[in-house]
């Protein structure tokens, strides 16, 4: 039994998690769901006894209030921090990792140990890769190795911080199987956080995190029941939020009720807090232009880093006014592909056509730079410049006349809902605002094609919904083509067409509607893509 009472974690002045309470019984898998910065990791680190906190935590009969007091039970705790392969050492093999983690825990190497170790290796599908170095494992295999390294000393309290983020769907399924098996065999308490709502069904109890508070808890079914009265089929009304074919409202509406999902909880929570996201508007293009029917065409694009083939003969077409989702796990080759399109990496093999022109040289690209918009991973902009200064800087670089630039910036700030933050520094703003402001930077010069690299990862549900709405609005108003990469398979729903990459190879290229038609029994895109992943293995 784990009991957390009034735990608060502060980093300087910022409160990461405030007055958190929770209970977990042996044999349970307890899930933490929420956006980056919602407080999941901080609470996990407090329970693991690695950060200072106020309040108290009781594990079985042992109570601790600080990392120091937690010392006696540390051999019962297994913590796997966030980040793929973070606990691994590049130059050690799978076997050496297990040896190392066994040695620092002082485990006795008896017959029982070897039986357990072999079972873990087999469950993780790593039994035949004992000699392979960690750096040569895929992201999914690295996470499975990290997990069994955490399990090797048989912890009774297992704390896993986003073990599945960025991992391919098949490996994710296998990770969950290991967890499920472990809790049944060992009757341990498992705390696990995730960025994927679809994994909630595998948990016994769910805690939803939002801005440093646990806003809801219970089983998935119970939680979904709680928001059913507020969920309607798509309609228009005042003071409500509409997204993904559903409308959420606290007042009773004429419309029929719809079946909510776990994500609905975040929308209803926002309504209850009175935080209705501002509407998004995109002004029409100032300079209308003709766009060819095919905006980008890649024929057999290949990129190698030494022996490693990051992208293997990929064909792709991006049509006018189309949102193309480029899906795949971490390391599948999405970012490398986009960087080839942008000319940030030289192309090793294949042909690339942008706006009907074959791209061969640096000069070809320079001519096209004004037509391309790009938003990089993690919304990288100048941290020491204010939002307005950033925008003005990029306007200058695109040679926009100053008065015109100012007008356009005002319009974008107004339309994308960050007008009141123009004089703030990016680091002071929530991730969702930064995301929209980065998009404003990318479209300031009115490009005809937009490349977005993981723009939705780590952002909370509502900001993500806003962002997808924004992209559709942009597509409709400007007839722009958008290539967007994501590791959330569920976001395939919002694309016109999806391409799935697996270890540098294209395994899917189809419309969501077609995919649904081909696999009518699948509940989600996750399930559909697992088929392809299995076939491509």
């Amino acid at each position: 039994m784990l009991q957390v009472s009034d735990v608060t974690v502060r980093y300087g002045k910022t409160i990461a998690i405030e007055d958190a309470n929770l209970e977990a019984r042996h044999g349970q898998i307890v899930g933490f769901i929420g956006a980056d910065g919602a407080g999941k990791s901080s609470l996990m680190h407090a329970i693991a006894g690695v950060v200072r906190f106020t309040g108290s935590i009781t594990y079985d009969t042992f109570t601790y209030r600080s990392p120091k007091e937690a010392e006696p039970i540390k051999d019962k705790i297994g913590l796997m921090p966030q980040g793929i392969g973070l606990v691994l050492y590049d130059e050690l093999s799978v076997d050496e990792h297990l040896d190392f983690f066994s040695d620092i825990r002082g485990l006795r190497r008896d017959a029982e140990y070897h039986r357990y170790r072999q079972r873990l290796l087999e469950m993780a599908g790593l039994a035949e890769f004992g000699g392979r170095l960690a750096k040569n494992l895929s992201g999914g295999m690295q996470q499975k190795l990290s997990l069994i390294c955490t399990l090797i000393h048989r912890p009774d309290l297992l704390i896993l911080d986003e073990p599945t983020t960025g991992v391919d769907p098949l490996s994710r399924k296998e990770l969950w199987e290991i967890l499920d098996d472990n809790r049944r065999q060992r009757n341990s308490i498992t705390l696990v956080s995730t960025a994927y709502m679809s994994e909630a069904s595998k948990m016994d109890a769910i805690h939803l995190f939002d801005e440093g508070h646990i806003i809801a808890r219970g089983s998935a079914a119970k939680l979904i029941d709680s928001v059913r009265p507020y969920t309607y089929e798509e309609t228009t009304c005042e003071g409500c939020i509409t997204f993904g074919g559903r409308t959420y409202s606290l007042q009773a509406l004429e419309a029929k009720h719809a079946e909510p999902s776990l994500e609905s909880l975040f929308f209803v929570n926002a309504l209850q807090k009175g935080k209705i996201p501002p509407p998004i508007t995109i002004a029409p293009r100032e300079n209308p232009i003709d766009i060819p029917p095919v905006v980008m065409e890649a024929k057999g694009l290949t990129k190698r880093f030494g022996d490693f083939v990051a992208d293997d003969h990929i064909d792709m077409q991006l049509r006018r006014g189309e949102i193309l989702g480029l899906l795949g796990a971490n390391g599948a080759g999405k970012t490398t592909f986009i960087k080839m399109l942008l000319g940030l990496y030289p192309i090793d093999e294949g042909e690339l056509y942008l706006l009907g022109k074959r791209i061969r040289s640096y000069e070809d690209r320079i001519a096209l730079k004004n037509k391309i918009g790009y938003m990089s991973q993690k919304f990288a902009l100048y941290k020491d410049l204010t939002v307005l200064e950033n925008l003005l800087y990029f306007a200058n670089m695109h040679q926009l006349p100053l008065s015109k630039a100012k007008k356009r910036i005002d319009k974008l700030a107004e339309g994308l809902g960050f007008a009141q933050y123009l004089h703030s520094f990016p680091r002071e703003l929530p991730l969702g605002i930064n995301q929209r402001f980065s998009l404003a930077v990318a479209i300031l010069h009115e490009p005809v094609v937009l490349f977005l690299d993981e723009p939705t990862s780590g952002v909370d549900t509502i900001a993500r919904a806003q962002f997808w709405k924004l992209l559709h609005e942009l597509k409709n108003r400007w007839n722009i083509s958008i290539l967007i990469t994501t590791h959330y398979m569920s976001e395939a729903e919002f694309c016109d067409r999806v391409v799935v990459l697996k270890r540098g190879k294209k395994i899917v290229d189809d419309t969501p509607a077609n995919l649904h038609a081909t696999y009518p029994e699948a509940k989600s895109f996750e399930d559909i893509f697992i088929h392809f992943y299995k076939d491509a293995r």
Partner: protein, 359 residues
């Protein structure tokens, strides 16, 4: 041109907004130079001397009475040679003198007395200079008629003040160090914060961006030099200014371009600020050592002397010293100008190519 000024202005603004960097630059150009001038002393100061006097006479006391402040602390008496040894071993004193029992007698009779001096050679500079002092004291007390008299005329730095030299060369070394670090940082910071890709995608040619970034740092460096010169070197240490101020600024400008060329190399090779710091130290140490900032070049090993011809800092120091202390004009020291300009041109162009390849 507009793009140039945008990048230039952005870099200056980013510099002014990063508190840590401004603090480091201000410290380096003021306090660090002051400390270098004030703190590094080759003259003996507060040297601890011990002695054992078996002679018990007037002469030993007379010699000891010459060891006084500020060069020496009052000599401590020890009862035995063993105690003296131990005191040196324990670093209580660095020089120990032993006056034998026949010291006074033999000095009067045969003029051939001898004092044993034990010195701690790990404090080499201080103890050897102390030895020189002792020799002078002894020499002054005996009336030897020596046929040659050395009369010294001090030129250029009449007070023979090492503070001015130390602070001056420190300023030039700091200029090198900061020019290299700052110019590498403006590029590597973009890599570290992930803005590099976006910068590359701007429809501005690479030349403009690189030049704007580099020249913005030149401005900061020249500002720093003015600060150091005005407040510390000329202000506190009162260095002479015999030559043309503008000639020095021109030389500094040429030289900062040289340093920035080195900065380009480092920026091309590093991915994080940490790597910049490591590489800078690796490259700067031999560069400064070979320049003659710490040791005169003629005192180096002949091979190293040849190598020192490659250190641009050598010509910067030679040229600047001539301007300040000898009052040389550009025409007098044109070789320094040409050397700095030539090395600067090569380093800048090659470094520029290296960083340009990343664009």
């Amino acid at each position: 041109m507009r793009a140039f000024w945008s990048v230039f202005g952005k870099e200056i603004l980013l510099f002014l907004r990063s508190f840590g960097l401004v603090a480091v630059v201000l410290y380096a150009f003021t306090a660090d130079i002051y400390i270098a001038g004030e703190g590094i002393q080759v003259k003996p100061r507060h040297v601890k001397v011990g002695y054992v006097d078996y002679s018990g006479g007037y002469l030993a006391n007379k010699i000891l009475s010459h060891l006084h402040a500020p060069e020496f602390e009052k000599p401590r008496a020890f009862t035995s040679v063993e105690a003296l040894h131990k005191a040196i071993f324990d670093k209580e004193i660095i020089v120990g003198l032993v006056f034998g029992s026949d010291f006074e007698r033999s000095s009067y009779r045969s003029h051939r007395a001898k004092v044993d001096a034990l010195i701690d050679a790990t404090a080499a500079a201080q103890s050897f200079v102390t030895l020189g002092y002792l020799q002078n004291i002894v020499l002054g007390m005996s009336d030897i008629i020596f046929p040659v008299d050395l009369r010294i005329h001090k030129l250029f730095n009449q007070n023979a003040d090492s503070k001015i030299f130390m602070s001056f060369t420190e300023m030039l070394s700091i200029t090198t160090l900061l020019a290299v670090i700052l110019s590498a940082m403006v590029f590597v910071k973009e890599k570290e914060e992930g803005t590099w890709d976006i910068m590359l995608l701007m429809p501005t040619n690479a030349k403009t961006i690189i030049l704007a970034k580099a020249l913005s740092q030149v401005l900061i460096i020249l500002g720093g030099i003015l600060l150091a010169l005005g407040f510390v070197v000329l202000g506190i240490f009162d260095a002479p200014m015999n030559g043309s101020f503008w000639a020095f600024m021109l030389l500094s400008l040429l030289y900062s371009l040289t340093s920035i060329g080195i900065g380009f190399f480092i920026a091309a090779a590093s991915r994080t600020i940490m790597q910049v710091a490591q590489l800078t130290i690796l490259i700067m140490m031999p560069l400064i050592f070979l320049s003659g900032a710490w040791t005169p070049i003629y005192a180096m090993h002949p091979v190293l002397q040849k190598f020192s011809l490659l250190s641009p800092l050598r010509y910067y120091i030679e040229g600047s010293e001539s301007i300040f202390f000898r009052g040389a004009s550009i025409l007098d020291i044109w070789p320094s100008f040409v050397a700095v300009a030539l090395l600067g041109f090569i380093l800048f162009v090659v470094g520029y190519r290296k960083i340009g390849r990343l664009f």
